[in-house]
Structures are given as C-alpha cells and as structure tokens.
Amino acid sequence: MSTETDMDRDIDVTRYRDAFLEETKEHLQTLTESLIELENADDALEQELLNRAFRAAHTIKGMSASMGFRNMEQMCHSLEDILDALRNGNGNVTPDVIDLLLRYTTKLEEAVTRIEDTGNDNGSAKREKRGYEIRVLLDRACEFRGVRGFLVLKNLEEIGEIIETVPSREDIEDGRFEYEFRVLLSTEDGEEAIKDALSAIAEIKNVEISKPNLNLEKEQGLKAGGDKDKNKAKNKNKESGMKSLRISTDKLDKVVNLVGELVINKSRLAQLGTVYKIEELDSTMAIVGRTISDLQYEVTQMRMIPVGYVFNRFPKLVRDLYRTLGKEIEFVVEGKEIELDKTILEEIADPIVHLIRNAVDHGIESPEEREKKGKKRKGTIKLKAKRETAHVIISVEDDGRGIDVAKLRAIAVARGLITADEAARLSDEEALNLIFMPGFSTAESTTEISGRGVGMDVVKAKVEMLNGSVEIKTMKNEGTRVLLKLPLTTAIIRALIVEVCGRKFAIPLSNVCEIAGITQAEMKSVTGKEVLILRDSVLPLFRLHSLFGQKMDGKRLVAVVVERAEGRIGLVVDAALGQQEIVVKPPGEHLQSVLGLGGFTITGDGSVIPILDISSLSLRSDVGQ
C-alpha cells in the first residue's frame, strides 16, 4: 500500500511543479526587490518593505512545504525569523544584514534552479540519470557545420550517454543538416553541466534544453518523447483551462516568415490590379492589405516581451558589485514595461551587463573621491528603456568621472592601434570612438569586475549585428552615457535601395550615415587606396562595381557613407533609388559563405534583391579586391 501512496504523491508533485516554480519565482523576485529597496528606505517605507518581504518568504515557505521541498522550507523559515525580528525593532537594517538576507534569496534561487533541473531541492540528493532533449542551433556564419556538430557530440559524451540524434550521427558529422540538430542525452548532471559543456564551442547560436525526462527508456526516442509531451500539455490545458500557452520561438519565427511572404505577394497582387486595371481587385486588395498589416503587427507583438524580464536581475548585480568595490551607488531603472523582440532582448542582455559593470567599476568614483570633487558620496547609475518610433533606446548612464579622452588617445597609440600623428588629428568625438576598437580597454588594471575580455568592441559588434547602433557621450567629472539604439524586430527592416551596373541592392538603413553625390574627379588616391574627401574627413572608398568586374564611366556617381566597426567607408554606387521596408530572407545554405551578402529580399514586382552585409563587405575591401 505504501508504494501506492508514494506514487500518488509523485503524480501530484509533478502535476503542480510548473505552477509552483512559476509562482515561487515571482515571490522570490518580490522578496529580492524589497530587500534591495530596504537599503535606502525611510522608517515608514522600511516597515512596509519588511512586511512585504515577510509575506513573500511566508508564501514560499507554505508552498515549499506542500511540495515536500524541506530544504527550501527551512531556508524560508530562517528568513522569516530574521525579518520578524527586524520588524519588531530587534536589530537595525544595516547593509550587512541585507547582505545576509540576500544570501538566503540567492540560495533559494539556486534551489529553484535545482528543482527545475533535477526535480529535487536538495543538492546532495541521489544522482539519477535523466534524459534531456537538446536542440543546438549553429550560427549561420558557420563554415564547417559537421565539425561543430562533431565537437558538440564529443563534449556531450564527456558528461553522459547519447541515446539518439536527429539527424543521424553520421549525417551530423558530414554536415548534412540545416544549422539545427537534436540530441537526446542521458546524464546524471543537470542543465548547467550541459550548457557548460557546450559553452566551449564557438559558432553555436542557441541551445535549448528541454525539461528533464525522469524515467528515460531507451526505446522512447526523440519523436516518441515529443508526442508524449504534447499529450501531457493537452491534458494540462483541459484541466486548468489555461488562458495562455507556451509556444516555441521557432514556431513563431515560422509564422513571422510566412507573414513576410504574404506581404511580398500582396504587393505583387496589387500590382496586377494596377497593370490590368481591375478596379474590384484594387478595392479588395486594399482590405486584404489592411488585414495583412494587422496580422504582421500582431505577429510582431507576439514576439515582444517587456525589457523588465532582463532588467529585473540587474539591481542585485549592481548591489553585489558596488559592495565588493566599496562604492555607494543608487541604481535607477526606468521603462521596464517597454517591449522588445525576445531574440533582441536576449542578445542584448550581455552587452547591458557589460555597460553596467563598466559604470560601476570605471565610471562611479569611490565615495571619498566624490566628496573631494564636491559631489554626493553616493553615485547614480540609470538604466533606461524608451520607445522612439521604430526603435527602442536603452541607455546606461552614470554620474561618475567620465571618460578621459586624452587617455584614450594615449592608449590607442601605446597599443599600436593608431599613430601619434593620427591621434592628434582626431576630434574629441572621434577619439571617444577609439573605445570601440577591438582589443581596447581603458582600465589601467583589469579588476575582477570588468576587463573579462569583453570590451566595448563586442558590445558594438553585437548591437550592430542586430541592426542597431551605439552612441557614447561623456563629460569629464559629470559622467558617461551609452545609448543603444535597437530595432523593434529583426525580420523586417528599412533599407536603402541602390543601383550598381543596372542591378539593385539593399543596404540596411541602420548602417547608412549619409548619401553624397560625387564625380569621378572628386575621388582621390592616397597611398594606393581610393578615398573621398567629404567635408573634413577622408573616407576609404569601396566600389561595388568591382563586384561585377566592371569599370565605372565618368558620369556622376553616388557615395553611400556607411558605418562599420572600424570606422566609416563610402560605397560607390550608380544611384540611390529610395528607401523601403523589406522582409529579410537569410541566404540559402550554398550562399552562406559569400562575403558581403547578408540575405535577400523580394520586392513587390517579384524581383530578388541582395542585401549587403556591411561588416563583411568592408573586410573584403581590406583584403584587396
């Protein structure tokens, strides 16, 4: 009989586990936030925050107890004791006490992760083998997919046993798959270990690890497992009458893509109506057009999540950092509710962490130094998100010492990045941009916090990869502000359409700084390279004509000035035709390695236009054509 009750309990626990985890995470967030706010609260607010924290801890305790997670229950109990004592005036809320309390929340967070990974909140629980379905998506830039695939399988084998792969192992090693493959791995280690094993391999764009499958049978392969999950999900929906549904982003991407096709075909249809003068078709198309743009809007919205999802973890990060460094900092977050495409938000999280670390570590001065300068002891760092037409601007702002531009010049020269002569010629604004050069770091001594090898160049590269841009402003002793301008979505972009040798190309508008009419006579040659002198600056030129092995004739040309990581260059084209919203189609497999090609778009009349990838194009001009 006892086995039966055990089984009953087992079923109960798994059935409620997801709900438990979700709710616990919310309460933990409240708890952490209240504790961080406590540090700066006045007496009245302090009481309220203590109450709020206590309630959260109490709720988590109750839920953990009913789920049988004794470890979590006990931690919450101790937390309650401390909070209760503070509430009753037995002891003061000092930074050290808050540190202690936050250590508990960290432990609780770890327990939650453990439950997600292993189904148990106890770290020392007996180790069981579990099956994980791992989806690995390789970077499109990956040259030898088979080799990356082999490395993935090899590293996974070091932590467990590979039960099955889709496609077959042989196909993976020979690169016969479309950037994505799946592995069913049986291992005693958790999700973290899998992530660790794969973190050592470059060109992996994304890894998705499914929830562990508790009793893994060999014959229960990937496909069967998937079906079972689906059934489970279906039953669950029926039971609780769920109002929301989890959909994988892959599926959503497919819908986005299909809507893109619709947009393209809509304009083709509309054109037919105009060409053949069918009025009824015109009016119907107007309605279809509206529906399609609504659909496009809705689909784009589905991918949007509030930036708060990522921003919420920063207050604790900032606090941990400045406590370690002995600084005093107020961290302000604004615009948490602003929404951004999920993929963009995920990609941008690391760069933001880097900017925040920089601000805490290099930006804000020590309290003593600030006092000497006549500033408040406590520095301020602001993380803001705001919507601006088709962009979201995320800014990290500090009121610290600012960036010493003279020092930037000196370092760039010392590193051999530029000559002393070049350095002297740079305007302050240009010199500030030196910080984006690869391998540049202004920290005299790299501390544990910054200087982990991720520089501003990586931030810039990441943002540009997302078709965004970075701007940096600084004032000595007043502070630094870094602005990240990001598109709302990556699937549809605004582009400049240009013509070269009778062919059309699209250049993402986010890369374009300006367009200038030029004549052949204005193009000068400096040390064997063609340049254009545009107002005060000298721009290296890249002739798109050379792509077709053609020479230009003497007529008027157009230089499109584009921004790339290493600086501005001018692309010489025959004409700029105008700007347009385009749907980005990634290049097919056989065209992946074509330098300078970022993808294609299809216009209303059905013609295919290549989209230029500015970063790899410029590289080609470096190599010499």
């Binding site: 030898f144 090898g453 390695s593």
Partner: protein
C-alpha cells in the same frame, strides 16, 4: 590573457595571427614552422593554447595534433584551415583538436574561438 604557440609554415600567416592575438590581449610565446618544431616547442613552452596549420612540411598539423594530445591529453589545439577542408578539419577534431579558425582570418572570429576553447 593566454600564452599561445602559433604553428604555420608561412611566416606571413604567423605574423597576421600574432597581430590579431596580441592586439586582443594574448601573448604569443612561440612560433613553429612545421609539425616537428611544434612538438619541441610545445614540450618546452607548455602554452595554454596552440594554433595549428594543417598543411605543413615534415609532419602535418593533424599528425602533430595527435602526437601532442597523446602526450598531453589536456592540450588545447585550434586548427587553422582554408575553406573547403571540412574532411581534414573533422579528422583533426577526432585527433583531439578543440576548434578551428578559417583563413583569411577575421579577428572577431579568431578571438571568439580562442576564448571559447580557453574557457573549457
């Protein structure tokens, strides 16, 4: 910052790679122009990481990799390759190399690969 041994029979390629590595905070502690030299240099320098060209006189990069891994199973070796050499690169991975970079080298790609492999 890691100590790196650069192995390539072309002095030009060694120089290119050295520039990329050093401007990204790594130290090139030695260079070798063929597989045989690379074994001796590895013994002597015990670098954190080796970049290994595949096609070289004397002993090719794959054999050299096999040899180094045999003596030092934890050695971190990254292959330098041209496009279209998938089969060779795969063979090198089976011999124990941990990653690859493609000529002509792109600094960000090289840095990503090296940092990933060093992290392991």
């Amino acid at each position: 910052m890691a100590k790196i041994l650069v192995v390539d029979d072309a002095a030009f390629m060694r120089l290119m790679l050295k520039n990329i590595l050093e401007s990204n905070g790594h130290e090139v502690v030695g260079e070798a122009a063929d597989g045989v030299q690379s074994l001796a240099k590895y013994e002597q320098l015990k670098p954190d990481l080796v970049t290994m060209d595949i096609v070289m006189p004397q002993l090719d990069g794959i054999e050299a990799t096999r040899e180094i891994i045999h003596n030092y199973p934890d050695a971190k070796i990254i292959m330098c390759t041209a496009v279209g050499q998938q089969a060779k690169v795969l063979e090198a991975m089976k011999a124990g190399a941990k990653g690859y970079i493609i000529k002509p080298f792109q600094a960000p790609k090289v840095v990503e690969e090296i940092n990933k492999v060093l992290k392991a």
